[in-house]
């Protein structure tokens, strides 16, 4: 520790007076101490800032798209520009926000703490992954600034090879590089979870957050390299024109779709699985009950990760893919609904007779369950060959995946951010504003995307900047959607403002404000650099919650202390 080094620093002194203990935030100062840090908690914050930056860019493009669709005519932008808008929105949101959002921020922060480790197994690789992420982000972002890409985030051939004269290679290079950041994060998690668990932390005592991150890491490791090589082939094709995917020279464009979706379908589970892990934690904590059917929820994460690799062909139903393969892919796609439903039912069963609190994190968990169910059920509809052909490339699909990605992954991310904000910063966010913002987000989200189901079913195609004016209902629905997007935007800005506010003016957070049972809550907020003063020894199962009322009636003891928000002893085994 470098306590002496910074003693003269005035800022350090101020921090010290506010935080009597040395923690990871005040252990060291200066920009260098952040940019060269090997502490997983600081790297998580680096990711938090950069992920938020790319989210704002992606959000701005979304706003432009919604503005254009306010009127039937293509009046705000030309079709060329519109192509770029949705491409940029997709690339930024998928590759630079949704995929790293939960794993690289909350996952980075919490995985070592939840298993009782001092850090991830490879701290330097962890830092490297952030630099790779930034390099990829900057390259792709510069491609957008130079003039953009108009192929759609899917880079389908032949748009991306023969017919686009935009910066496909540069944007692709950024995504290629960014992929290795995901791979390194996944590698770190897998090794850490296998080798760094605290004594007594057996696999079935792990929080479900860890299980879902383990499953996510599997996809990172086994899926991401395939998109990397696919993008490499796109670049090769653009530079050398040898007909890798060009039928005129003997290539097969559908092969690109196979390779692309082999990663990009599991990538959807990269987005949703960590959110599911977050929601498991939120529901257990805020209903004061152990998760119903722990092992089912744990294994359903792995099942989703594995089945997720077997269904990519349902994105190719309208390509020249063989109908027989289509049938197989359709059938397996239905199967994915099973582990997803196991989770939803078990969360619901967990809430039964629990002491449900309506704190902000729990509101987001509620939102997640409802919206994910809608997104998931429409997904089952789309897995059916006949229906899918009917609504392919319509707003029905757009609404479906936004219900999963925004309604699912975003809600999980926001809920998790609120739940662990006291741990991350040592400050409480304002609860009233939190609940209000959650409500605004929920209303705004549904108003944005529910009309899109109707639009899509009526035949509004995606990726069009104009639509017929002679059906007034279409414009009504589009106006609703745009209005919803404005509300959603405001709802997302509110947490941004009060999170920043709370870092300076928020109430000090106790070590365990909720109070929860996880290891990360058994160390001060914010935690010290190596997380725990002494390596904890785990002698209890995951989620040993009892309802608050019960704890109060039974009287004193550890649970009552927890109920009162008093920090439990750091190491129960030794007391």
């Amino acid at each position: 520790m470098s306590n002496e080094l910074t003693a003269t620093d005035a800022r350090a002194h101020e921090w010290r007076s506010r935080f009597p203990t040395v923690n990871y935030l005040n252990a060291d100062y200066g920009i260098k101490s952040w940019l060269l840090t090997k502490d997983h908690k600081r790297i998580a914050l680096l990711y938090l800032v950069s992920v938020t930056f790319f989210f704002l860019i992606g959000g701005a493009y979304a706003g432009a798209i919604r503005l254009e669709l306010l009127t039937p005519q293509g009046d705000l932008v030309q079709s060329q520009t519109y192509n770029k808008l949705f491409t940029h929105h997709g690339i930024m949101m998928v590759f630079f926000f949704l995929i790293p959002s939960i794993p690289a921020t909350l996952g980075n922060f919490l995985v070592p703490m939840m298993i009782g480790a001092k850090d991830l197994a490879f701290p330097r690789i962890n830092l490297l992954s952030w630099y790779i992420y930034m390099l990829g982000g900057v390259l792709t972002f510069s491609a957008l600034l130079f003039g953009g890409v108009d192929t759609g985030w899917t880079f389908y051939v032949p748009y991306s090879t023969n017919f686009s004269n935009t910066y496909v290679v540069l944007a692709g290079l950024g995504i290629f590089i960014n992929g290795f950041s995901s791979i390194l994060t996944g590698l770190n998690f897998i090794v850490t979870i296998h080798t760094m668990r605290a004594p007594g932390m057996t696999w079935f005592r792990l929080p479900l957050f860890i299980w879902s991150h383990y499953a996510t890491s599997l996809i990172f490791i086994l899926g991401t390299p395939v998109i990397a090589i696919t993008i490499l082939l796109i670049a090769l094709e653009r530079l050398a024109h040898v007909g890798i995917f060009d039928p005129a020279l003997g290539g097969d464009p559908v092969l690109f779709q196979h390779m692309f979706w082999f990663y990009s379908h599991p990538a959807v589970y990269i987005m949703i699985l960590p959110a599911m892990g977050v929601v498991s934690e939120l529901i257990a904590t805020h209903t004061r009950k152990p998760i119903f059917g722990y092992s089912f929820v744990a294994f359903s994460s792995l099942a989703i990760a594995i089945f997720g690799f077997l269904v990519w062909g349902h994105h190719l139903f309208v390509s020249s893919q063989s109908v027989y393969a289509g049938m197989i892919f359709s059938l397996i796609s239905f199967v994915v609904a099973i582990p997803s439903a196991v989770k939803v039912f078990n969360w619901t069963a967990t809430m039964y007779k629990g002491s449900i609190s309506y704190d902000t994190p729990m509101l987001y968990a509620f939102a997640f369950i409802g919206l994910f169910t809608i997104g998931g059920m429409t997904g089952v509809m789309l897995a059916a060959l006949g229906f899918d052909v009917h609504v392919t490339d319509t707003y029905f699909v757009v609404a479906h995946f936004h219900y999963i990605m925004v309604g699912g992954a975003m809600m999980g991310y926001l809920g998790g951010l609120h739940n662990w904000w006291p741990k991350i910063t040592g400050r409480m966010y304002p609860e009233g504003w939190g609940r209000f913002a959650a409500l605004v987000v929920f209303v705004g989200f549904n108003l944005t995307f529910f009309p899109q189901f109707l639009l899509g079913y009526m035949g509004m195609p995606r990726r069009y900047h104009a639509y017929p004016a002679d059906v007034p209902l279409w414009q009504v629905l589009h106006v609703m959607s745009t209005a919803g997007a404005s509300i959603l935007g405001i709802g997302l800005l509110i947490p941004g403002v009060y999170f920043l506010w709370s870092m300076r003016y928020g109430r000090f957070a106790p070590a365990n404000p909720w109070p929860a049972t996880g290891l990360e809550w058994r160390t001060p907020s914010p935690p010290p650099t190596e997380n725990f003063a002494v390596t904890p020894v785990v002698t209890w199962e995951a989620y040993e919650y009892r309802p608050v009322e019960e704890m109060r009636v039974i009287g004193p003891g550890e649970s009552a202390e927890q109920a009162a928000g008093v920090q439990p002893p750091l190491d129960r085994a030794e007391t």
Partner: protein
Amino acid sequence: MSVHIVPRKIYFSVFAALLVLTGTTVFAATIPFGRMNDVVAMTIAVTKMMLVLLFFMHVRYSSRLIWVIVASMFFWLLILLLLTLTDYSSRSWFGPTVIT
């Protein structure tokens, strides 16, 4: 430390086996067996790979976790190859206009 030191004799035997198998595969390739050429070549290649994996890479002496990782990487590679093949191998079954 529980490091299992593989005797040098094993390394040399594996090396010899790999060279012999290389010779065999080259020889077999010069004889036209029709489709069996691929089967022979791939069988020999898989055998060589197993030798390298088990002995040079010490998988034979490693924990079960390493076995699981090795097994799962082949499993996933097979998913990629075989599920894509379900498409390509069945395209011609249906309708005369489907281009294979």
